[in-house]
């Protein structure tokens, strides 16, 4: 399913959170990477139809989200994990996923329960399916949220910080799950973790103060930092960013800090830091 965003803006009062965004999201996994307050949650809320844009147009698989009919059709085809999933204290894991499955129009009880069990199994929570959600750990609740997002087999899967609070093993399981799901659907996930992007994403959007600073493949993002990452002996004045590594050398992002500095292979994180540190300031954007 293709998602086309054109000229999208969203403001809260006088603060502009998304600024004239143009994005085309294709089937595969797109990671939205950005610092706190960049507008990731706002963008995902708008794509999920939970929030209306202030301006601009969004088409989800050809359905225009500005019309009530378009929104309903898009809602039939999407799964959404909010940044925070609430729960009713008396609900068990099964009940919550089942409730969302009912709202997603899975009316046949037998088939619905089969799908609910499959989704709970996919996130490794079968053993606690009958437990009340309030008794589960934060990471387990996150997995309940992922289960409800995938229960209706959505063509568009929107996940806001899906790996937040997951232990390393669960993060790995989640990545396997998402990769297996992404074959024929569009997955959009927001994260602060560059490792998430490197591990699973086929495309990455770097969001900065409501603007897409970069949209392309992770390898293309990494290439942006080619010839811009160095190991030096001392902290230079000219660097955009520099920090001392565990080995004692200084890692520098920016132009060559000194003749003795050695160029090194950039990581995705280096490229992300480079792109966001070269971004226009808030004052320039205004």
């Amino acid at each position: 399913m293709r998602v086309v965003v054109e000229n999208l803006s969203r403001s809260f009062g006088s603060s502009k959170v998304l600024r004239d965004l143009d994005l085309t999201l294709e089937p595969g996994i797109t990671g939205i990477l950005g610092p706190n307050g960049a507008g990731k949650t706002t963008l995902l809320r708008i794509l999920s139809t939970a929030l209306a844009p202030s301006k601009g147009s969004i088409k989800v698989g050809g359905w225009d989200l500005s019309s009530p009919h378009g929104r309903t059709e898009a809602r039939r085809r999407l799964g959404y994990l909010p940044q925070e999933v609430g729960y009713y204290p008396r609900f068990t894991v099964f009940q919550l996923v089942d409730y969302i499955a009912i709202l997603k129009e899975l009316d046949d009880r037998g088939e619905r329960h089969r799908r609910v069990r499959t989704a709970i199994d996919a996130v490794g929570l079968s053993a606690v399916a009958g437990k009340r959600i309030k008794t589960l750990s934060g990471g387990m609740r996150r997995r309940v949220g992922i289960a409800q997002a995938i229960v209706a087999d959505p063509e568009l899967l929107l996940l806001d910080e899906p790996t937040g609070g997951l232990d390393p093993e669960q993060r790995m399981r989640f990545r396997q799950l998402i990769t297996s799901l992404s074959a024929d659907r569009t997955v959009v996930l927001s994260t602060h973790l560059v490792e998430d992007i490197a591990a699973v994403c086929t495309s990455v959007v770097v969001l900065w103060q409501g603007q897409a600073l970069f949209h392309g493949q992770p390898a293309q993002l990494r290439e942006r930092a080619d010839g811009m990452v160095w190991l030096a002996d001392a902290v230079p004045d000219s660097a955009l960013l520099s920090w001392r590594t565990e080995e004692g050398a200084v890692r520098v992002i920016g132009p060559r800090p000194s003749a003795a500095a050695v160029a090194i292979e950039p990581t995705l994180e280096d490229a992300y830091l480079l792109v966001t540190n070269c971004a226009p300031t808030d004052a320039q954007l205004r």
């Binding site: 949650t41 909010p82 729960y87 709202l103 069990r117």
Partner: protein
């Protein structure tokens, strides 16, 4: 009874099926332990993950026990999603309803004891709108419903969900008020409380939809009690000024206006805005 795993009958699927799992899985397990042929068949032919099968059985055993209210609503031909949405409303939970019953009963009792002496304000008539306004403002919205954000992105109609919850809350509370006032033999004609209750509740709901439930309830209560105090201190006859035919007509118009406004807003998705994530 003899039980053999028959490859032509897709036993795995059968075993993992909900009902078949509950009924057959223990028999199948027992049989597997005793029958070498089946055991060999399972080992060679089937990727039978018994943990998974039992997890399926357990999950079904833990599947939601629908409440009797939900079943009753489904029997009234309400769709399952709506029945569950209604029964999940905070203002329809046992503890909330119990509080409403206590307040309304006390008001009816006090009113009954005092009778229709002089120009006294009937407590039930004053309190009924307040109790229902609070319940209506707390029946729907992002600050009330922990699953609100999730439910908003489903194809289920927001307008229907809101109206159904409000209708259920007003209906249930109306029954409580009617019974309480009937038992206490109140001074004012039956159901005179209804229009004022509807007007104050819907006014609170409209304000709550734009702001927060507490603001909605607070505003509704302030407006209503101010009106009651103003009339009772003005020397007018309270019951006829506040619950006479002209007043009832005004309440009716106000309730209708607020209802129409609320439906218009929710259809255009202009209200019940999500608060900032993480706050």
């Amino acid at each position: 009874m003899s039980y053999h795993l028959d490859p032509t009958h897709h036993p795995l699927e059968e075993l993992s099926q909900v009902r078949a799992g509950v009924v057959l899985a223990p028999q199948a397990m027992e049989h597997l332990a005793q029958c070498a042929a089946c055991e060999q068949f399972v080992a060679q032919e089937l990727p039978l993950d018994l943990d998974r099968v039992f997890a399926g059985v357990l999950a079904e055993l833990h599947a939601p026990r629908t409440t009797s209210l939900e079943r009753a609503l489904c029997r009234l031909r309400l769709p399952v999603w709506l029945a569950r949405s209604i029964t999940a409303a905070p203002a329809l939970q046992g503890s909330w309803l119990a509080c409403s019953v206590v307040v309304i009963s006390l008001a009816a009792l006090v009113g009954g004891l005092h009778g229709s002496s002089g120009n006294a304000v009937p407590p039930l008539l004053v309190l009924a709108p307040c109790v229902v306004a609070a319940a209506v403002a707390f029946c729907y919205g992002p600050r009330v419903d922990p699953l609100f954000e999730l439910t908003q992105v489903t194809p289920a109609s927001r307008t229907v969900a809101l109206l159904a919850r409000m209708g259920a809350v007003i209906g249930v509370n109306s029954v409580v008020i009617a019974v309480a006032s009937g038992l206490a033999g109140g001074p004012v004609a039956a159901f005179a409380w209804f229009p004022s209750m509807a007007a104050v509740s819907l006014l609170s709901a409209v304000i709550a939809a734009r702001t927060r439930p507490v603001v909605g309830v607070g505003a509704g209560l302030v407006i209503w009690t101010s009106a009651v105090l103003a009339v009772s201190s003005s020397g007018l006859r309270v019951t006829s000024a506040l619950w006479g035919a002209p007043a009832q007509l005004c309440y009716g118009v106000a309730a209708l206006g607020c209802g129409v406004l609320l439906v218009h807003w929710i259809r255009h998705e202009r209200v019940f805005l999500l608060p900032q994530a993480g706050l």
